[in-house]
């Protein structure tokens, strides 16, 4: 039987196990929407902006490990979703985005709402397709899902002209895909893995540096086995949080620009860095020429371009984390004995000393202003038994969330690392909530970032996605203010937000619930109330505006040279500022 392009589209989604599509209609995709409207297998969540649709699909993908799907119209629909595609590309999120296109006979004519969708998305997708013939549609969609989810995952765009969605073709869905130019390597080179095992046996000061690749690969169990068997400490990147249990005694926490003292010291002084599914981002390496000066480097990554892109690697292993770690563990199981523990005792003494010397700290006074770290810490303690999914926006609050919310398992952490997209958190949380309706989904947001996709509150209310947004409301683009305090002599150029909306009323205006924490003493009660509410909630938490996030390695700085607290001049300024509100928005804080 012949089906229309729109029907083929839906049949393909069903074959790929897609239950939810985040979408916003327009002229050239009306046929697809009309067809979606007349079936029940695939749910459509109507978003209020295409960027929201894109981030929701990302959140869905990160939480489930499957491809997220969004559908947008031509022209402005496409340009609106670009930020989400770029975000997914940087963070390797499997995503399939369908865009509408003007009819094939009008392509190139500057037709109404025409945009070169393939051209626009080329630099921010793993691959993209323009489907010119309905007979190619099913095969193309199959390839799109295959490319998005295999190898190093990433976003794929399928551009469907209006006439293609209306034309008819015989529907057959291919069982398998074979693309001659695309064959990701999953099995690591055996000889290299043996070399790695030997290096691990000999190392006196080894460190595991693990990233998002472990999460994508589902290799947490294998990682845990490796770390426990060899007693090697574990540093996680921002994207790797949850890949290893945050409370585990071998966990050093996050490394990098705002990583813990022990995590960064361990990297700097280690003699063997074992990088697994991490890409040596500049927020981790700092000054490349002085990165891990004493270490041999093992790098396991599925993408050969990640290896030796930024730093020299001694033992490169191209392959999937899970497959490679299994092989590595098997070798090590036969060789590891009590000797490594003795060999590494001085290293562990040193690590514990670092840990005790400079743990993460902050000062919360009983009746003083609410400290942002306190909010994250209490939120963590109050919710950890419920195994929540945690999304963040971008800024200081994101870093505090990374430091204080110690995730136990992978696929619970939704954050924008590579692109650092403000406005990512709320829609990403909604996407995860759409996948897991019964789970607790939190969004730790900034007062600046959250305004970038606030419109999606309407979607959350209508589609019953009871995400809990906790706004760390410091009245500032706090991360920007922190840099200005440290590197621009405290001139607050466009970082003070002045009037922000009353977030409680804003929530209510949308039909959601708004709550505010007025003082530290109320924090627990209000958070508990929010968690117990079965609607979307905004918890507005006015926090101390001048809190800075430490440790901090200034951009391009060296990993063992961290700023651990406010420099004295800054402290002096701020001691006067505790009682003052940031009225003088352009001026330096005065003591």
């Amino acid at each position: 039987m012949k089906l229309t392009g729109a029907e083929i589209f839906i049949e393909c989604l069903k074959r790929e196990g897609v239950k939810t599509v985040f979408a916003l209609p327009g002229g050239v995709v009306l046929k697809i929407f009309d067809t979606l409207h007349q079936q029940k297998d695939v749910e459509v969540i109507l978003t209020r902006h295409e960027q929201g649709a894109g981030h929701m699909a990302e959140g869905y993908a990160k939480a489930t490990g499957k491809a997220g799907v969004c559908l947008v119209t031509s022209g402005p629909g496409m340009t609106n979703v670009i930020t989400a595609l770029a975000d997914a590309y940087m963070d390797s999120v499997p995503l399939v985005c369908f865009s509408g296109q003007v009819p094939t006979n009008l392509i190139g004519n500057d037709a109404f709402q025409e945009a070169d969708n393939v051209g626009l998305s080329r630099p921010c997708t793993k691959y993209n397709f323009l489907v010119k013939d309905v007979n190619d549609l099913a095969g193309t969609i199959k390839e799109a899902f295959y490319i998005a989810t295999t190898g190093r995952p990433g976003p794929v765009l399928v551009d469907i002209p209006k006439d293609v969605s209306m034309a008819k073709a015989e529907f057959t869905y291919p069982n398998a895909v074979s693309i001659r130019g695309y064959n990701p390597t999953y099995d690591g080179n055996k000889w290299q893995i043996k070399q790695a095992a030997e290096a691990i046996m000999k190392a006196k000061k080894p460190i595991l540096y693990v990233g998002g690749g472990v999460v994508f690969s589902g290799a947490s169990q294998e990682l845990l086995e490796l770390a426990e068997m060899t007693q090697i400490p574990v540093d996680m990147t921002l994207m790797g949080l949850g890949a290893f249990p945050g409370e585990h005694s071998l966990s050093m926490g996050m490394l990098g620009m705002h990583g813990t003292y022990q995590a960064n010291m361990a990297m700097h002084y280690s003699d063997l860095v074992i990088a697994i599914g991490a890409r040596f981002d500049d927020r981790v390496t700092g000054k490349v020429s002085e990165f891990c000066p004493h270490a041999k480097v093992i790098h396991v990554d599925i993408d050969p371009t990640s290896i030796r892109k930024n730093i020299h690697v001694d033992i490169p292993i191209v392959g999937d984390c899970k497959t490679v770690l299994r092989e590595l563990n098997q070798i090590l199981r036969a060789t590891v004995n009590g000797e490594q523990k003795d060999l590494r005792k001085p290293w562990w003494d040193q690590l514990r000393e670092w840990q005790q010397a400079h743990p993460l700290t902050y000062q919360q006074e009983q009746d003083g202003p609410i400290k942002p770290q306190q909010v994250v810490k209490r939120l963590y303690e109050l919710t950890k038994d419920r195994d929540p999914i945690v999304a963040t926006d971008v800024g200081q609050h994101q870093m505090w969330a990374a430091q204080y919310f110690k995730l136990a398992k992978p696929n619970r952490w939704l954050t924008s690392g590579g692109l650092g997209t403000m406005g990512f958190g709320f829609p990403a949380a909604m996407g995860a909530q759409a996948a897991f309706r019964d789970r607790l989904v939190l969004c730790i947001a900034g007062d600046g970032s959250v305004q970038m996709n606030m419109q999606e509150m309407a979607t959350a209310v209508v589609s019953k996605l009871p995400v809990k947004i906790i706004i760390l409301n410091n009245g500032f683009h706090g991360m920007v203010r922190q840099w200005q305090d440290l590197f621009y002599e405290g001139r607050y150029a466009s970082s003070y937000l002045d009037t922000t909306p009353d977030f409680v009323k804003l929530a209510e205006a949308y039909g959601a619930v708004g709550l505010r924490v007025k003082k530290v003493g109320d924090l627990d009660a209000v958070l508990k109330e929010a968690i117990a509410t079965d609607k979307p909630v905004i918890v507005d938490v006015p926090t101390y505006p001048y809190e800075n996030c430490y440790p901090m390695i200034p951009a391009g700085g060296c990993n063992h040279e961290m700023i651990l607290e406010d420099p004295p001049e800054l402290k002096k300024k701020q001691s006067g500022a505790t009682k003052v509100t940031p009225e003088d928005k352009d001026t330096v804080l005065t003591a």
């Binding site: 630099p123 793993k126 130019g181 695309y182 050969p304 371009t305 030796r308």
Partner: protein, 172 residues
């Protein structure tokens, strides 16, 4: 250092812009690029002349390999290869210059492929040094137009033994 990279790609629309976009987006340098279908019309062969240190060339090769439409990448500098470029040069030639032009054409084994009373259009092919040399010689006559194809290159067939090589050379 200059490298010649031979890239086999799918012969379909948009592939050239993916390759070009890779170079421009990552700040890699393209000195010349030539593309044409291979014997198998479903594939095209690109010859890219680029330059960079070892790390950059390694990235270029890896990034090219990562493109889904790229089927094969060979850094020809890692093997022996032969390369050729063609130039078409239109020169002003009046009176005694015409004889001079023909002499140069002869020396370089070039061809005159078009002629008017005041110009010759000359085709020459060879390695880039040869092309540079003929351009230098023709310049005093007055070059009106110059187009170059960019290089195409192919790896030399590995020769199994000295004897085989000797035979081949003898045949040539």
């Amino acid at each position: 250092m200059e490298h010649i990279i031979s890239v086999t790609v799918e012969n379909k629309f948009g592939v050239l812009s993916r390759v070009a976009g890779l170079f421009s987006g990552r700040g890699f340098n393209i000195e010349s690029l030539s593309v044409a279908p291979t014997l198998d019309p479903s594939m095209s062969q690109m010859t890219i002349v680029t330059s960079g240190d070892e790390r950059i060339i390694e990235q270029i090769v890896k990034q090219l390999n990562k493109l889904i439409d790229v089927i094969k990448v060979v850094d020809l500098n890692e093997t022996e290869f032969v390369s050729r470029e063609t130039a078409i040069i239109k020169v002003h030639t009046k009176d005694q210059d015409r004889a001079e032009a023909l002499r140069i054409v002869d020396i370089f084994r070039a061809n005159v492929i078009d002629s008017t009373p005041t110009t010759y259009t000359i085709e020459v092919s060879g390695d880039p040094k040869k092309i540079e040399a003929i351009i230098n010689l023709l310049q005093p006559l007055g070059i009106k137009d110059l187009v170059r194809t960019g290089r195409v290159a192919v790896a030399r067939e590995p020769v199994r033994s000295a004897a085989v090589q000797a035979k081949k050379v003898a045949r040539e």
